[in-house]
């Protein structure tokens, strides 16, 4: 009887693991702004008016994982050609852009400044930094395949975009009647 129970417990743990994997693979997509993950990202850096998310998965790309904690949020993508953890996206309140080139387009979409770190080859490494009000997002490209790096980087760029924090603030208010305090929202209770 005890063995049967132990077997059932192990099976349920494994099943839970499967469903956890399924849930996680979609967590950072932009089409789920009311989901818990974008809210958690918004809570990690409450000052940021923009939050990174995944628009679409180009062929051969998949979701790698995430690490969200107070003050910092990261998620990364795997690629069947560029390898695992090929692109990492990190949101912080501030970041240093010293030594980087300003490659901001003249349109300055959403008021974002874009910086690029000098690229190195073999392995291919490049950092692109997006600076905006209250936050900073860094894309870190790390490709084993340097030959096809420009194509891979372009695919990754196509996959990634931003969602406005205000969208999440509005959804929290309308769905839950709660305030996602921080940027573009009423002030929090218990501020120092």
């Amino acid at each position: 009887m005890r063995r049967r129970l132990t077997g059932m417990a192990i099976a349920s743990v494994l099943l839970a693991g499967c469903s956890v994997g399924t849930v996680r693979s979609q967590e950072a997509t932009c089409d789920a702004p009311s989901g818990a993950f974008p809210v958690l990202v918004a809570q990690a850096v409450p000052s940021a008016v923009l939050l990174p998310c995944i628009r679409v998965f180009p062929a051969g790309w998949s979701y790698g994982g995430s690490d969200v904690r107070s003050g910092r949020s990261r998620f990364w993508l795997d690629s069947d050609r560029a390898g695992i953890h090929a692109v990492e996206v990190e949101l912080t309140e501030r970041c240093s852009v010293a030594g980087m080139s300003n490659v901001t387009a003249s349109s300055r979409e959403l008021g974002v400044l874009v910086y690029l770190e000098p690229i190195t080859f073999r392995p291919y490494t490049a950092d692109r930094v997006f600076v905006f009000h209250g936050g900073c997002v860094t894309y870190r490209y790390r490709f084993g395949d340097a030959e096809h790096a420009p194509i891979l980087a372009s695919e990754a760029d196509e996959a990634l975009t931003f969602v406005r924090r205000s969208v999440l603030v509005d959804l929290a208010q309308s769905d839950l009647g709660l305030t996602l305090c921080g940027a573009e929202a009423p002030p929090c209770v218990g501020e120092d």
Binding site: R2, V13, A16, G17, S19, V20, V23, R24, E27, G35, A36, F37, V39, L40, Q43, D67, V68, R69, S70, G71, A172, D175, L176, G177, L178, T179, L180, C181, C188, V189, G190, E191, D192
Partner: protein
Amino acid sequence: MVAYFVSVLIGALLFPSLESLFERFDNRRLLWIAELRTPRLTGAMELVNALALSWTIRVLRWGTIAVLIYFRRWRHLVVFLGAIIVTEFLAYDLSILIRRPRAYGVTILADWQGFSMPSRPMAGLAITLIGMAYCLVVPGRQRFQMKWVIAGILFVLAAARLYLAVDHPTDAAFGAIFGVTVGVVAFRWFAPADVFPVSYGRGKAAHLDVGGRRGEAIVAAVGRQLDLEVLDLKPVGLEGSGGSTPLRLRVAGDDGRPDGYLFAKLYAQSHVRADRWYKLGRTILYGALEDEARFTSVRRFVEYEDYTLRLLQDLDLPSPEPFGVVEITPEREYMIVMEFFDGAVEISEAEVDDAVIDQGLRLIQRMWDGGLAHRDIKPANLMVRDGQLKLIDVFFVQVRPSPWRQAVDLANMMLVLALRTDADRVYERAKAFFSEDELAEAFAAARGVASPTQLRNHVKRDGRDLLARFREMAPEREPVAIQRWSIRRVLLTAGVAFGLFLAASIVVSNWTVFA
């Protein structure tokens, strides 16, 4: 409380509208608490929250692991590590499954990581403290008090985390209850206190505590099943016994006879498991040297020993008279009762003359003639009373053993006898019982594992190279190889190696839990 959390969890997963109700309710509590914030109180709460820091938990875990290694409480160590890994793993997966963000509408004043429910720091501290209570604190009043202290610590920590708004009320409660539940279930199932007691004496893990309720049960069972009144029971010879709990029972006299003593051996499931591991270890290290078939239950254990006692009695060998088997807890604990050689001393403390030497050699000869091997000839199992040699602990007796095993019995007996005399004298006497060829085979077979640990230790302490001296006197003979290879041994070794690799991988892949 557990049912409440399970119902909340299922309700929130199945009915999203319940989730928002629940979210609003929980957040409102945090908003109330946040209104109470003052700079001084915030400082105090931040200090309390240090209990949930990964460094605090890490120090507690490593400290406990160090103590468990020092006291060689391997069972507790494995359960402690397993419970921590399961708690951390499940708490993380549950948090991903439940996917609850941090508190809305309130400033969070402490560092956090990942989703909020269950509170992983609360679960981590709870499993660590409960593990410490079960691994380090002696069962009884002290452990009971320790559990209240743990409850107090968890309550204060939960209050601090709510004040800092890093957890919702249900996150903190769920985390604490989850950690405590995993710990209690793990230790009660896999390291029950009555089988794996925590004590700070020098006793072996195999020895069960025979005080308290178990002691009362033994007295009652012996009275009911053997019709003997036990006046007193006391553990004896613990240092020489690793596979059972040996006891001396003082029983009331009958029909004008004075009170007397009986010897008893208490067996439990843990002994069956230990025997299984012992045999598995031998099979891997040496192959199927002899019968390594495992016992399937405690009942089979005592039935076999009862049978061997009766067999030796039938052959009129100087071994204890059996009094029967006593059932303490059906299928879990049994005790075998036999004659106690009152006044007998271990051969290593007795005077050994030619008569005793001859008795020892004749004992082996008669076992050979009866188609038996004792398989555990060592000083602790040979007693001398009034110049008469007695053989005890017949659990390992094997019927129709291999000639190799019988030869080893002879060599071990001669070594024991030589420890109290000298090799030349024993060898001379042995020639009257055995041929030179048999003696040569005995010392060609007696190598390494063939001799019990106690005997090897005595020989080492003695200083004389008794084995070499015996071999010098015996005709030259090639050493008998004790390695036996078979497909079963290869598969078993591969299986165990894979299991160890898997266990190591689990620990390494969860290393962040400890490091």
